[in-house]
């Protein structure tokens, strides 16, 4: 495979994409180095899929440029696509063929023949598809279809792999298995770019994160730095089935069976919360102060109010 060494895995310069009057990408600049495990986060409509589709050549930039391993996605699209594997978000499949046939066809489109069969077998085994290799795609369960989609993106051994919501609707066991496989790919030198609504996944797996909002990147840093820059904490209070006083209701992040999680901008707010609870004659049964996670950073950047939360929960349910 043709590769340019010492080039970033992905380089995006002043990328704009317009659909009629809608500015879906608004001057995005982004560089992802080879070997990174990178997360792209944002609520629905933030421009993540548009960015990925432009990277994959499914959309043409209105202006600006995108390159994969140093190859421009428009002028050197063949080289750029040879270096890129994309796992689409939707569970799409060709109903005429079985898993192995489909993977061989996909490898063939990238110029790989029988000599690639050993790698195809490795991918099939690694993704737990061995028993289903001769099963028609339409007879696979949703989870198996998801594995087959990932396998399709890997058959030509691309150095850069984009996973667009790979674990959406996938059970916990399969999710763990997929992440182990993808972590192994990353250890083997593949650059991984991930979009996900499961922020704990991004926090656990990714070394660097970009957060998008309304077609722009609003935060771009290592996961550690993003968490450090966010000074807030979460206060988890067990109050039982009560109504929260209106003075502290804006701090509410979630509630589950009488356990209220409040987002505090500063640890000093604990005293204020406790005073308000006492004033409302609410009895604290348990109390816990928790470090902020990526979700807090995310909410603070894309909207820390209730609107931001509803955007996020909608995104999570997608």
């Amino acid at each position: 495979m043709q590769q340019k060494y010492h080039q970033p895995a992905v380089k995006i310069n002043q990328l704009h994409k317009q659909f009629g009057g809608l500015h879906a990408l608004n001057g995005v600049d982004l560089t992802i180095e080879q070997g990174e495990f990178f997360a792209l986060l944002g609520p629905n409509g933030a421009g993540k899929s548009t960015l990925i589709n432009t990277l994959a050549g499914l959309l043409k930039p209105s202006s600006g440029s995108v390159s994969v391993m140093g190859f421009d996605t428009v002028n050197q699209y063949q080289e750029s696509r040879l270096n890129l594997g994309v796992v689409p978000q939707e569970l799409v499949f060709d109903p005429f063929f079985n898993v192995r046939e489909m993977l061989r066809f996909q490898a063939g489109y990238f110029g790989r023949g029988r000599e690639n069969d050993a790698w195809v077998d490795e991918v099939i085994e690694g993704l737990g598809l061995t028993d289903k290799a001769h099963t028609n795609m339409r007879k696979l369960s949703g989870g198996m279809k998801r594995r087959a989609l990932i396998a399709q993106a890997l058959v030509h051994k691309p150095p850069v792999i984009v996973l667009d919501e790979p674990t959406a609707g996938v059970d916990v066991e399969l999710r763990q298995m997929l992440w182990e496989f993808i972590k192994k790919l990353n250890r083997d030198g593949h650059t991984i770019i991930l979009t996900t609504h499961y922020l704990e996944e991004a926090e656990t797996l990714c070394s660097r994160v970009a957060m998008m909002k309304q077609g722009e990147i609003v935060a771009l840093d290592t996961t550690t730095n993003l968490l450090k820059t966010f000074t807030g904490k979460n206060l988890r209070v067990n109050l039982g089935e009560v109504i929260l006083p209106s003075s502290i209701a804006p701090l509410l992040r979630s509630v589950d069976k009488g356990v209220f999680t409040l987002s505090l901008s500063d640890v000093a707010q604990v005293e204020f919360v406790l005073a308000e609870l006492r004033a409302a004659s609410l009895k604290v049964q348990d109390l816990q102060l928790i470090e902020a996670d990526l979700e807090d950073v995310f909410l603070s950047l894309v909207g820390s109010n209730q609107e931001g939360k509803s955007q996020f929960s909608l995104a999570g349910a997608h």
Partner: protein, 258 residues
């Protein structure tokens, strides 16, 4: 195969996949149109044999067979490329092709070649089965091959255009019911255009399907309504026009890449 190199393997793979796609459902894609053609043959020959003689010395049943062969060939060439593209667009699996380094020309050649093969397979099957009913001469086999290849390629290209343009199955049905079927039935499959009133003769002469069928029939009987040279020029020019339009659509990513 020596022609398959890493740089051409993508195109070969797509061609092979398209062949397998229709072969896996050969009852629907090959056997079914053959049966339909035979039903036309049985009904029309039963009703009109002995009552109609279009060319001197040529029985009506024999006259009908090249027309039915060409009709099946054209319809199935169109169906192959158009159905494959619209299905993969509607189901979303077209993304697997769009993510590959295949060029627009490779895409075109692979889809077109598979359409030609299906068209020829159906046309040949109709011929082989029809031979049980009547002896059919082969006066100019070169013309038969030329019109079969050019006709199936023309319809394969038209199928790619329809597949790219249509966004829903009912739009594709409109192509078949409002363009392909009328042009086929008004092209002289069942009659000579000389049997038509002057106005409809003129209308037939602007129908490229007429030239495909008339030229094809010339290859069997050595007689035709117009010169086979005129027919091959009209069919060739129509193919070039459609191929140019198809390549232009594919190159620009029309309705495929946003």
């Amino acid at each position: 195969m020596i022609l398959i190199t890493p740089s051409t393997r993508g195109m070969w793979t797509l061609f092979k996949k398209e062949l397998l796609r229709f072969w896996r459902v050969a009852f629907q894609t090959v056997a079914s149109p053959v049966v339909t053609s035979l039903l036309y043959l049985l009904i029309f020959s039963h009703v009109l044999e002995g009552h109609v003689q279009i060319y001197p010395g040529v029985a009506y049943t024999a006259f009908l067979i090249p027309g039915l062969m060409m009709m099946s060939l054209l319809q199935n060439s169109f169906a192959n490329s158009s159905s494959s593209i619209i299905q993969s667009k509607v189901m979303g699996s077209i993304v697997f092709l769009l993510l590959t380094p295949l060029t627009f020309l490779e895409f075109f050649i692979a889809f077109l070649s598979a359409s030609v093969i299906r068209g020829l397979a159906v046309g040949l099957s109709v011929y082989l089965v029809a031979r049980w009913f009547v002896e059919i001469p082969l006066v100019h086999p070169i013309w038969i091959i030329a019109f079969a290849l050019l006709g199936s390629a023309l319809m394969g290209a038209f199928g790619i255009i329809a597949g790219i343009y249509a966004e829903k199955f009912d739009q594709m049905a409109a192509f078949q019911n409002f363009i392909i079927m009328p042009l086929t039935f008004l092209s002289g499959v069942f009659y000579s255009i000389h049997s038509l009133p002057p106005f409809w003769q003129k209308v037939s002469q602007i129908n490229p399907f007429f030239y495909m069928i008339d030229g094809f029939r010339y290859g069997f009987f050595g007689v035709s309504d117009v010169s086979p040279w005129l027919s091959i020029m009209v069919v060739g020019a129509t193919f070039l026009l459609l191929a140019w339009l198809t390549l232009k659509m594919l190159k620009s990513g029309y309705k495929l890449r946003g």
